[in-house]
């Protein structure tokens, strides 16, 4: 049993200069066999292992990660959390996650710094206005809080936005989801890792999957750089590298992996206390607790695994940011990076069984998986444990690309997912 994190443990450890904190998770060598193996130690993978152990009473689970946990897209995203998606299936999926977020810090005894500061989506032309109004109505029918704001209300909610009608893409209105917000991305990975480790999950880092072993239509285990590991159930949560793992198992997925960029500025005093997104001009911005502006840019249109994006994408985003927020014109950018995102043709994820028995995929989150981390883990764990999807992820199966029953969320996702 791990010691609880609390104000008292903080004070106690201060006396020993914070040098005697117990390890949040062990660093075990892989066993020969597990009940279930999760490939990918990002937020989604760790959450899956956590819920498998917690809700489905599986104890012999491993998470294998080729680098370090939370070092992929979990540590590269802009931490936006919202659930204002158009279709019923998506609303169910993302709001399930949002409801878990609301109690996550308490559940994990780990402060994930979930901050419901609101997310505002801007409209810049008449079609945007119609689309966003429609989405607001759809959200409210699904019990998701959403309001439509006119230009004055947008200005009142976030005073630094330039609402002049003379700019290239004037602000005609926007939607606001007040329950939406941000969380600390690393803490989510670490919190789930600590919780899973406590229940006996082996978190094996620097363990790269080299092959998936199949016996006919049944999965048998994984080849890794630490040897062969046997398992009857394998859940793959490898984001941008999902297709690479799928190819190892002889499967093909409807995914394209592309670089998505983000950047942060130098830290400044509090200036923007919400998240503002604009899908039309590809700019979204919030401010971290350290004071940096966190800015999300777009994806490149070519397939790449290089974790670098093109400069013109960043330039386009900063053009839009400067037009909407002239006050940022002298800010200097500190860091810029790219992550590889796995994009589905309908901009919705896949949480599904496959044609190989015992092999499950959770992928296709594209540009916006972070917000769904707890819900994704919960539903993927359910799918793996029962060999059947939960009703909330039934629509997000692989077979929808054959049946044509797609969940088209390009409007709510766009690039600023």
């Amino acid at each position: 049993m791990k010691n609880n994190y609390s104000i008292f443990s903080l004070i106690k450890n201060a006396f020993s200069y914070h040098e005697n904190w117990e390890k949040a998770w062990k660093d075990p060598e892989p066993k020969k066999e597990y009940e279930a193996i999760i490939v990918g130690g990002g937020g989604h993978g760790l959450a899956t292992a956590y819920y498998l152990a917690k809700k489905h009473n599986m104890k012999n689970i491993a998470v294998v990660e080729k680098g370090w946990i939370g070092g992929g897209n979990t540590g590269r995203n802009t931490t936006i959390i919202r659930s204002n998606y158009l279709w019923d299936a998506s609303a169910g999926l993302y709001d399930h996650a949002l409801k878990i977020w609301e109690g996550l810090s308490q559940e994990l005894n780990y402060n994930v710094m979930f901050s419901q500061r609101g997310v505002m989506n801007l409209a810049h032309n008449l079609q945007d206005v119609r689309d966003l109004k429609r989405r607001t109505h759809a959200n409210r029918l699904n019990g998701i809080d959403a309001v439509y704001l006119n230009t004055e209300e947008v200005k009142k909610f976030c005073p630094i936005i330039n609402t002049s009608q003379d700019i290239r893409y004037p602000v005609l209105g926007g939607t606001l989801q007040r329950r939406a917000g941000t969380a600390r991305h690393d803490a989510v990975a670490w919190g789930y890792a600590r919780g899973a480790d406590e229940m006996g999950v082996d978190i094996i880092q620097n363990c790269e999957v080299k092959g998936i072993k199949r016996n006919g239509d049944t999965v048998e285990g994984i080849e890794t750089n630490k040897g062969f590991i046997k398992a009857k159930k394998i859940g793959v949560v490898a984001a941008g590298h999902s297709s690479v793992i799928a190819n190892m198992a002889g499967l093909k997925l409807p995914l394209e992996s592309k670089p998505l960029q983000a950047l942060v500025s130098e830290p400044v005093k509090p200036i923007i206390d919400t998240v503002v997104m604009s899908n039309a001009v590809h700019a979204y911005v919030s401010q971290s607790d350290k004071g940096e502006l966190v800015i999300g840019a777009g994806t490149d249109d070519y397939i790449s695994y290089s974790q670098k994006g093109s400069h013109d994408i960043v330039e386009g985003t900063l053009n839009a940011i400067l037009e909407l927020y002239p006050i940022f014109s002298r800010m200097r950018m500190l860091r810029q990076w790219g992550g590889i995102v796995d994009i589905c043709p309908d901009a919705s994820p896949i949480i599904s069984k496959t044609s190989v028995k015992g092999l499950y995929f959770n992928c296709g989150w594209g540009t916006g998986g972070f917000k769904a981390t707890p819900g994704s883990g919960d539903l993927f764990a359910h799918t793996i444990a029962n060999d059947e999807p939960h009703k909330l992820n039934a629509a997000f199966n692989l077979n929808r690309f054959v049946s044509g029953d797609l969940v088209d969320e390009h409007g709510a996702a766009a690039v600023a997912h």
Partner: protein
């Protein structure tokens, strides 16, 4: 963030081009006889290779012509450029 040698215009910045995805996906000869699985394969399933990939590009802000390139998607290095209809160079 790389240069592409357009077979018609010469070397230009990648930002002038539009990526057209995986090349050599054959349009079905008799679409009316295709099963749902075959449609899914044609429309949605992609190799999405990490490594050397054959792909289509369009010089959108130039001659607007389509052509093929061979590119390593793990480091964005271009191995070869060839025109539409030409035989792809063997790896």
């Amino acid at each position: 963030m790389f240069l592409i040698n357009c077979p018609f215009c010469g070397e230009r910045e990648q930002s002038e081009f539009k990526a057209g995805g995986e090349a050599h996906i054959k349009r079905p000869k008799q679409p009316t006889e295709l099963s749902d699985d075959e449609w899914a394969e044609f429309l949605f399933m992609r190799k999405n290779i990490k490594g050397v990939q054959f792909e289509r590009w369009n010089h959108a802000h130039g001659c607007r012509k389509w052509f093929n390139i061979v590119r390593d998607t793990s480091n964005d290095q271009i191995k070869a450029v060839y025109k539409m209809g030409e035989k792809p160079p063997v790896k």
